[in-house]
């Protein structure tokens, strides 16, 4: 069980998650300091490392639309957030899977900041409201990458197999 620490609306773009002006910063260890930079209060708490791992961001539809910048996923992976949204924009979803950021697709999610959520295999259970909401599985095609812990270990494994060194 974990707490919803931040709630945002529909069509939150990568310009909001990770503003373009910080794009020269690329290291996943450095990107979290600029996460949601223009939401000063939330950003300040991220910088102070106030959130325990697996803290939850609840977003509206089409989360992560816009740019392919991977910083938008790495800045949320750093503090180890879980993002729950009705759906995600394609490139953000793939970047997040590749980096091992946890996402939950939940089309009907109802939750507010402060609510406690629990995830079962196919449901989000809002412990605070007592309601539960069905989860839609992540794209099947990507499951092997998730299982491998991200695209880097997955690709490394393929490389070794193809060179017959494994």
């Amino acid at each position: 069980m974990a707490k919803v620490v931040f709630k945002v609306g529909d069509d939150v773009s990568t310009d909001i998650i990770y503003p373009g002006r910080f794009m020269a910063t690329v290291l996943p260890t450095e990107t979290p300091q600029y996460a949601f930079m223009d939401y000063h209060e939330f950003n300040a708490k991220i910088k102070k490392k106030e959130f325990p791992p697996q803290s939850i961001i609840v977003a509206g539809k089409n989360f992560g639309c816009g740019s392919s910048r991977e910083q938008a996923a790495s800045c949320l992976k750093g503090p180890d957030f879980v993002v729950v949204a009705p759906n995600f924009s394609r490139i953000f979803l793939q970047n997040a899977i590749n980096l091992g950021l946890k996402m939950v697709i939940c089309p009907t999610i109802e939750a507010n900041e402060g609510d406690e959520l629990e995830f079962s295999a196919d449901q989000v259970i809002n412990k605070s409201s007592g309601k539960s909401f069905p989860i839609v599985a992540l794209p099947k095609a990507r499951q092997v990458i998730i299982d491998a812990g991200g695209l880097i270990p997955f690709t490394r494994k393929l490389l070794l197999e193809s060179k017959g060194k494994n």
């Binding site: 069509d11 773009s13 310009d15 909001i16 503003p19 373009g20 002006r21 794009m23 020269a24 910063t25 690329v26 290291l27 223009d38 539809k61 089409n62 639309c65 816009g66 740019s67 392919s68 910048r69 991977e70 996923a73 759906n87 924009s89 394609r90 490139i91 793939q94 970047n95 590749n98 980096l99 794209p139 099947k140 095609a141 990507r142 092997v144 990458i145 991200g150 695209l151 880097i152 997955f154 690709t155 490394r156 393929l158 490389l159 070794l160 193809s162 060179k163 060194k165």
Partner: protein, 430 residues
Amino acid sequence: MGMTMVEKILAKATNQVSVKAGDVLEPRVDLAMSHENGALVINQFKDIFQGTGLEAKVWDPAKIAIIFDHRVPAESSKTAGNQKKIRDFVAQQGITKFHDIRGDSGGICHQILPEFGYVRPGKVVVGTDSHTTSHGALGAFSFGIGATEMAAVWALGRVLNVEVPGTIRVVCDGKFKSHVAPKDLILHLVGKLTAEGANFKVIEFHGPAIEQMPTSGRLVICNMTVEAGATAGIVPPDGETIRYLQKEAGVKDKPDIFGPDSDAVYDQMIHIDVSQLVPQIACPHTVDNVKPIHEVLGTKINQIVIGSCTNGRLDDLAIAARILKGKKVARQTRMLIFPASTRIYLQALKKGYVADFMEAGAVVMNSGCGPCLGIHQGALADGDVALATTNRNFKGRMGNPNAEVYLCSPAVAAASAITGVITDPSKGGE
């Protein structure tokens, strides 16, 4: 069962007779493009090889393109460092399609790729930039990916676990009215589909209005398909594609000309009569918040921007020059113009457009992406309103979350520069 354009391309890229939407494939990549974010790709690429005992060599240095465009020339030592790191990697790996900061061969990646003949019909193109959708204009399956995904492509030469996308077929009839452009068509379509309407799908363009559209216009519409969430946009290659590749891009070989099967299966069909379109404006703060121009006429503008991978091509500049020649940019308004490539800049210089712009009071800037995403010049003040021919108007896009960005065609931008308010170019400059 018949195949769409992208199904045909993916069947070929995986040596299969036929594939269909939903299949999971690992297509061969013909071109892999990055810009300054290549610095992050390099980190991830080296990480993949960590502990394997294998040498970190890219699969094919001739199929990788790297173009510096986001912050050129470097605005900070950090960017300069990233660029240096890429330069060293390019030399070490023998990457040939490299465009450094130069006046004779530089520019925005989505102009450089077509301009230098790097993209051909039927090919698979990936880029670490969401507007990689642009290159569907030449009949390629071209889509944006993240840096780690690109690192895997550099290592393996294929994209892993691609689900064949479904396709939305958009048929465009009619002739554009004067002062209405491909930009107005794509803004209208994004408004109709919404920002997520084409998520995980391809938009395939057909009809007389597309057949009569030059490649420059096709690049505009494919460029912005991603604003409806699309994986890619694509136009069936034709005589115009051959003309562009041979006459403008200097390609010698004959491009592969093909279309979808007549019995291809589509997720959705959309019909647009372009003769009914008026200039369109995407209002703050989402690209799908599109209104016909008459609903926002008179909105005061502090900064006009013409340029970017969307509308910084020679015909865009020609339209703007025709409207601005002999006129003045309004006193309270700033106007920035940044051509999509240095080749276009030079052509605009020779045709006298640059002089027309400067005499009107516009600032003509270096070719690059900077102002569009607020990372290199042209930032807005709190409360500023910008009108731009670029592709995104998200909150904070031009460097300030307390400013507003409207999107439009070059004709609307030029006409509005003279008045300082959003102005219909057909009644322009009054």
